[in-house]
């Protein structure tokens, strides 16, 4: 899993190498690094990194070891991978329930409704979600559909 981190390094030689040690030791694989040596702020140089760690525990260990070395960690957060998914719901009677669904990490980014000749409403729902929330989202929509006697059509690999 990927993490976005910004460290403040003292503006003297050898600091970057010293900071990379705990990252490498904990299995971190550096995906990108921006070292702004020409922009020191009060004697510190900001370094921004995106690192792929084998687990959250490895990431936490690296952060602790950096702190123990006296390196200031200005920012450290997980980079969440987002996926866009499209769903179709047929026969929903209470649209509000769908729009008001609050699932952590899920955002409705598009909604298209066709009210038809017959009495069944067909809805296309576009969502952006954290990869980890996909199962929760599908279960949630499935339950909503079942409650309203509607049919959920999910993407083939969701």
């Amino acid at each position: 899993m990927k993490f976005d981190m910004t460290l403040a390094l003292a503006d003297k030689p050898g600091q970057l190498l010293r900071a990379l040690e705990p990252i490498a030791k904990n299995g971190g694989n550096i995906i990108s690094i921006i070292h702004e040596r020409d922009k020191p702020v009060e004697g510190y140089v900001p370094v921004s990194l995106v690192v792929d760690f084998p687990s959250r525990q490895n990431f936490r260990n690296a952060i602790n070891e950096l702190k123990n070395l006296g390196i200031a960690v200005i920012k450290s957060e997980e980079v969440v991978e987002k996926v866009r998914l499209t769903f179709i719901l047929i026969g929903i009677t209470d649209l509000k329930k769908i729009i008001e669904s609050r699932i952590e990490g899920v955002e409705i980014i598009g909604l298209e409704i066709l009210t038809p000749s017959l009495n069944k409403v067909s809805i296309k729902l576009d969502v952006e979600t954290h990869a980890e929330a996909v199962n929760i989202l599908v279960d949630h929509l499935r339950r909503l559909a079942e409650d309203q006697n509607a049919l959920l059509i999910a993407p083939i690999y969701a």
């Binding site: 179709i88 047929i90 026969g91 069944k120 999910a154 083939i156």
Partner: protein, 339 residues
């Protein structure tokens, strides 16, 4: 080898046609190959020296044949040492598998190789029948039972011997695919597309077995057990059919570059349900075509496309037959092992 054909309906008759056309090829593999018996629901034809295959092709009902024995059953013939291979092509019955299940059990227990397009016995008793075949050192081949002419079992058995299948998905029912394709391309309603399919003989008068997803679910169970070593039963499949699909839903999907397809998936669980499939995905085939998408650890992705029913199914049955004829005299048959 001596062949017994049980069932002289659509499949039985089409098989007899293909045997006539390919007889000299079959005899080049096995000089002694002959059809010794054919059975329908009311009687049979038996001739130990071989039934004249041209005569057979002149009749549509078995009882029209001069040697037809009214009242005889497949069990009579299987009970004696009269054949080496049985093609079991009686109607699929998913309640108790009969009469196919009894025919197949008896044949295998007597060491007779079995080839069958009949899903019922395989859905209900796959493991039991495979074990029985292995114990009696004979083959149980069923390529025609799932996705008709698509050689999915042969492909995995012969060409993916070291791969582990991690996920499988497919369009496993031609009738529903035809209906959904007509709705997609012609922008007609489900009801009209179904009626059209019935008029063309693609859907049955009672279409529920197809459109409610049961047929696809049966095939999924066989695939899961045969290719992925599962112990799945029909009850384990979450099934949603295509009855509720509106024209509006299809056009919403289409505008976003998706088609709605009835998809069977074997992942952690088994599911048959209408799904949104990107129109450029290899599985997104139309008309009565079927498609199977296999994901494995080594080959990663393989997609097979072909006709899932109709006389194309004979291709699968004939290939199974040739497999048995070629293996004659070779060491014992054993069921494929799951990696």
């Amino acid at each position: 080898m001596r062949l017994l054909i049980v069932g002289f309906g659509f499949i039985g008759r089409e098989l007899v046609k293909a045997l006539r056309d390919k007889m000299s090829f079959l005899r080049s593999i096995d000089r002694d190959f002959k059809v010794v018996g054919i059975v329908d629901s009311k009687g049979y034809l038996y001739n130990g020296k071989g039934i004249d295959i041209d005569d057979l092709n002149k009749i549509t009902r078995l009882s029209e044949h001069r040697d037809y024995k009214l009242g005889g059953t497949a069990l009579d013939l299987l009970g004696q040492n009269l054949c080496d291979i049985m093609v079991e092509a009686t109607p699929t019955n998913i309640k108790d598998g009969e009469p196919g299940l009894t025919h197949i059990r008896l044949a295998l227990s007597r060491g007779i190789h079995v080839i069958t397009p009949n899903k019922g016995p395989l859905v209900l008793a796959f493991r039991e029948l495979m074990n029985l075949a292995e114990r009696n050192e004979c083959a149980l081949l069923y390529e025609g039972a799932v996705a008709g002419a698509i050689p999915v079992f042969s492909l995995v058995r012969e060409c993916l011997q070291g791969d582990k299948i991690v996920r499988l998905s497919g369009i496993l029912n031609g009738t529903t695919n035809y209906i959904l394709s007509r709705m997609f391309f012609e922008e007609i309603s489900f009801e009209i597309a179904l009626k059209e399919a019935q008029e063309k003989g693609i859907a049955e008068r009672d279409p529920s077995y197809d459109i409610d997803g049961i047929d696809a679910a049966c095939k999924l169970v066989i695939l899961a057990n045969a290719l992925m070593g599962r112990e799945a039963r029909l009850n384990d499949v979450r099934i949603v059919g295509i009855r509720g699909i509106t024209q509006e839903a299809i056009s919403l999907a289409k505008r976003a570059n998706y088609a709605i397809k009835l998809i069977g998936t074997i992942d952690r669980g088994l599911e048959v349900a209408p799904k949104l499939v990107p129109i450029n995905h290899p599985i997104c085939v139309h008309g009565t075509l079927n498609a199977i998408h296999i994901e494995t650890d080594l080959a990663r992705e393989i997609t097979l496309v072909g006709y899932g029913a109709g006389k194309e199914t004979i291709s699968a049955i004939l290939n199974d037959l040739i497999t048995v004829l070629r293996k004659r005299g070779m060491s014992k048959f054993s069921s494929p092992k799951i990696v």
